[in-house]
């Protein structure tokens, strides 16, 4: 075992497993991988291969991202003039609702769990597939069926309640297709539950030999925490939507104050899911960032345990803070105080992660390819998104900022600046693994910069206009706010161009890109130790794991810094844990 460590010249990183006979397509073009071992439409539609299902999600969510993006474009364009440039009032309401529902339920929630989670989790833990491959396929189709309800809802006239569906507006006053949207939420939620169940079972039961909890890549930890949230939160919104539907159908109901019902109850139950849902949207992104940063900085993650447990911490405490969406909604005063306190606590794990990422760069050997640029963009934007959340979680400051553009800017900085950038980072990072092809270095870096600049400029003015008091969901606004909105819209177009660019250069790479090789970024994770694209069952033999996930520095650098009271030694020669002769896990974060 020690021999591979003494052979650093061959690799400049230390893979989690012992080197296996490499399968290379340059040398063996006849080798079958998951993309070409079967052909035909049915081989895709009926596949139970987690990698193919991941790609099916990739195509689907990209389409819905385009829909959501078009709706966003309509909204932003309309806001160029204070009286609405292109849309009628109700058209605007439908446009922003479409933007919200599509982006949340059909893009942000499924995108990383559906695509990267599906594709990578089994590979990262050395499994041949998900625990329940058929369920995995079923959950894709359930999701697609739910998505169809959203599409149908758009076709029959759209929804105008906002994605929050607050009664009594949604249950009684809206004349739009609340029922279809409700069905869509219910069904996509069911799919989300099934995916989560699958991932949890996979992580618990399918890890390959030697893949202890302390050696799990942090992306897997993040996906695990995400899945816990999905499993525990989603059923509650499902039953809430059922109650809303019953109320709307029968005409009398549970949330209607005229009958003694309480609209605030809906908000409680809605946010019981929907607040943790924002962590469903951001945690996988954080997981991706761990993988990308370590790879391009050639470093171990700083504080593995802290990063891993902060994911779990977010998942748990994230369930206890939903009331901060309702500080002004008429909930009990004491409850609001409790929620405000817990909100301050949930901000801490996110802060820990940001500091750990920054510290990870320290002492690295950093290269700036596209995934790294996206990851750095993530840290920059997510930091702003995170600190602006503090304004909204503080009881006093929320009074003024609640339901203004400040909120819009805040959550776009976390959701788009966070999740969207993480998604792009992950997509660019694993694209060579998924397709076996390399994309253009220049265009991908340019796209990262265009997106970053466009995004930052779109939402910075919104903080200002939000502090001035411009309420959200306003097609018409006081004329003195126009300059901010025009700036925002102009930058939104730039951002839109940024999102279009990957379609071209990634698409181009599919047909004319050069072969990427098995491990173009020289990353350590198990998924990189197999061929690109991987064979149908991922690994030729069940891998055996000997190391933690991010041993980039070991192979060629024997320089070890004893930062922490000298506990870390020269691992090659002295650390018995890492070479795997004792049952303890490899040292991490000590």
């Amino acid at each position: 075992m020690a021999d591979i460590l003494l052979e650093p010249a061959r690799l400049d990183y230390t893979p989690q497993m012992l080197p296996e006979p490499e399968v290379s397509f340059e040398k063996h073009p006849e080798h079958k991988h998951y993309l070409n071992h079967e052909y035909g439409l049915l081989s895709w539609l009926l596949t139970v291969d987690h990698k193919r299902i991941g790609l099916m999600y990739l195509v689907s969510v990209s389409i819905f991202f385009m829909f959501g993006g078009i709706a966003a474009g309509l909204v932003r364009t309309n806001l160029i003039t204070p009286t609405g440039a292109i849309l009628e009032l109700d058209q605007y309401n439908k446009a922003f609702t479409a933007h919200g529902t599509i982006m949340l339920f059909l893009f942000l929630i499924p995108v990383i769990p559906g695509v990267l989670g599906n594709f990578l989790v089994p590979m990262m833990i050395g499994a041949k597939d998900m625990a329940f491959p058929k369920l995995n396929l079923a959950s894709y189709y359930v999701w697609a069926a739910g998505a169809l309800f959203f599409v149908w809802q758009l076709i029959v006239g759209g929804l105008d309640t906002g994605w929050t569906l607050y009664p009594p507006y949604s249950s009684k006053y809206s004349h739009t297709s609340v029922m279809y949207a409700g069905l869509g939420i219910f069904i996509t939620g069911f799919s989300s539950i099934l995916t989560a169940l699958n991932i949890i079972a996979t992580v618990h039961k399918m890890r390959c030999p030697g893949m202890t909890w302390g050696r799990l890549p942090l992306f897997v930890w993040a996906m695990y925490a995400t899945s816990v949230i999905q499993l525990l939160g989603t059923p509650v919104i499902a039953v809430t939507v059922v109650m809303l539907a019953v109320e709307r159908m029968v005409g009398v109901g549970i949330f209607d104050p005229n009958l003694g019902g309480d609209p605030i109850l809906f908000q409680h139950m809605f946010w019981f899911y929907s607040h943790p849902a924002v962590y469903i949207m951001i945690l996988p992104g954080m997981g991706v960032i761990n993988e990308v940063l370590t790879c391009f900085a050639r470093k171990n993650i700083f504080g593995y345990k802290a990063v891993a447990w902060s994911s779990v911490g977010i998942a748990v405490v994230g369930f206890l803070v939903w009331g901060h969406h309702m500080f002004l909604a008429g909930q009990g005063y004491y409850l609001a105080m409790v929620f405000a306190l817990l909100t301050m606590l949930v901000a801490v794990p996110s802060a820990i992660k940001v500091f750990n990422w920054t510290a990870t760069l320290y002492g690295g050997s950093i290269t700036f390819q596209a995934p790294m640029l996206f990851a750095l963009g993530f840290i920059i934007l997510f930091t702003i998104g995170g600190v602006t959340g503090l304004f909204l979680g503080t009881l006093g400051t929320d009074i003024h900022l609640h339901d203004t553009y400040f909120v819009i800017a805040h959550f776009h900085y976390t959701m788009v600046g966070g999740m969207m950038f993480a998604w792009q980072a992950g997509l660019h990072f694993w694209w060579p693994k998924m397709t076996g092809k390399m994309y253009s270095d220049f265009w991908s870096r340019l796209a990262a910069i265009v997106m970053l600049v466009g995004f930052a400029l779109t939402f910075l003015p919104q903080f200002a206009v939000g502090y001035l008091g411009m309420p959200r969901r306003y097609p018409n606004y006081p004329p003195e706010f126009q300059i901010y909105n025009v700036l925002s819209t102009a930058a939104a177009y730039v951002q839109g161009i940024g999102y279009l660019m990957p379609i071209f250069y990634l698409g181009y790479s599919l047909f004319a890109g050069k072969a990427a090789g098995n491990n173009p970024f020289k990353a350590t994770g198990l998924e990189w130790q197999t061929s690109s694209p991987p064979s149908p069952h991922n690994f030729e033999t069940t891998p055996q794991v000997y190391f933690g996930p991010y041993e980039y520095a070991v192979a060629d650098g024997l320089k070890i810094i004893p930062l922490n009271d000298g506990k870390i030694h020269d691992i090659v020669h002295e650390d018995p844990d890492l070479v795997g002769t004792t049952p303890k896990e490899a040292t991490h974060g000590s």
Binding site: A127, A131, L197, A201, M206, L231, V239, V252, L265
Partner: protein, 276 residues
């Protein structure tokens, strides 16, 4: 026992049967977590209003058919027993016993559903359906010192509720310390909660039928596959468990007596014609 003692056909992505079975069992437990939260949500909403409107909820409960509910409780418990017996039968390789017990479970579950359907039908007959429908009713009011009869629009539900409560609960006397619109809220919960439960029962019976077909085709000849029956039983037991809470929350929270329950049940299955 080690993994190697569990034998049977292993799916392509598992290393051994032990891993596969443990995973399947674990998966069902995870699914049950979701179910707990799903029912938890509606139970929570119920409890919130129960705290606000105790009298109205008791009045609503008083109008329910507690006789059918009581019998149904035992039907479900018995079905929980039979599915446990089915696991054992599969475990020891007793194919006949397995099929017999699966069939018994299906029969008991269907009996539950049949009675439940009867109960819904009776509620419908009595007019205990929440809704905005109104009927014209003659009411005596005082006008200028003398009593006159005028027609007013009264929600159908209010009249039906008063009738049922008079008959079942207040021994023919009119009695009103409840607000009918809030009782309607109770009925919304009654229909939603029992409806969701019934839906789960139907899905369960479907799955059981599928397992019965599998059993007939000899799928469970591999003894290790008893775990699939066990996994099914987890779901079935959970549905039973939900009913254990529905019974006190919906049916038993109002004033009822055992003789009334017996009478209601007799009436429901046509043995007696009660006070109609």
């Amino acid at each position: 026992m080690a993994a190697s003692t569990v034998e049977g056909p292993v799916a392509h992505h598992f290393n051994n049967m032990g891993q596969q079975l443990a995973t399947v069992r674990f998966g069902m437990w995870l699914f049950l977590v979701t179910e707990v939260l799903f029912f938890g949500g509606v139970f929570c909403a119920y409890t919130a209003y129960r705290i606000w409107y105790p009298k109205d909820f008791e009045a609503g409960s008083a109008a329910l058919n507690v006789g059918i509910a009581s019998v149904n409780t035992f039907l479900l418990l018995a079905s929980s027993l039979t599915i446990t017996l089915a696991i054992r039968a599969a475990y020891v390789g007793n194919q006949g016993g397995l099929m017999r017990n699966l069939l018994l479970t299906i029969v008991l579950g269907s009996a539950f559903l049949g009675l439940k359907a009867r109960e819904y039908y009776l509620d419908y007959e009595e007019g205990l359906m929440p809704g905005t429908a109104k009927v014209m009713q003659k009411q005596k009011v005082e006008q200028n010192g003398k009593e006159v009869e005028i027609e007013v629009a009264v929600p159908k539900f209010d009249i039906a509720l008063e009738e049922v409560l008079k008959r079942e609960h207040f021994k023919g006397e009119a009695h009103k310390d409840y607000d009918p619109s809030r009782v309607m809220l109770f009925f919304m919960f009654y229909y939603s909660m029992t409806g969701l439960h019934v839906l789960h029962m139907i899905i369960g019976i479907g799955l059981l039928t599928w397992q019965l077909i599998l059993a007939r085709s000899g799928f469970f000849a591999h003894k290790s596959r008893y775990v699939y029956i066990e996994v099914m039983s987890l779901y079935w037991h959970f549905v039973d468990m939900v009913w254990m809470f529905l019974l006190p929350l919906l049916y038993l929270c109002g004033p009822h007596t055992s003789s009334q329950a017996i009478e209601q049940f007799k009436m429901a299955i046509g043995l007696s014609h009660g006070g109609h």
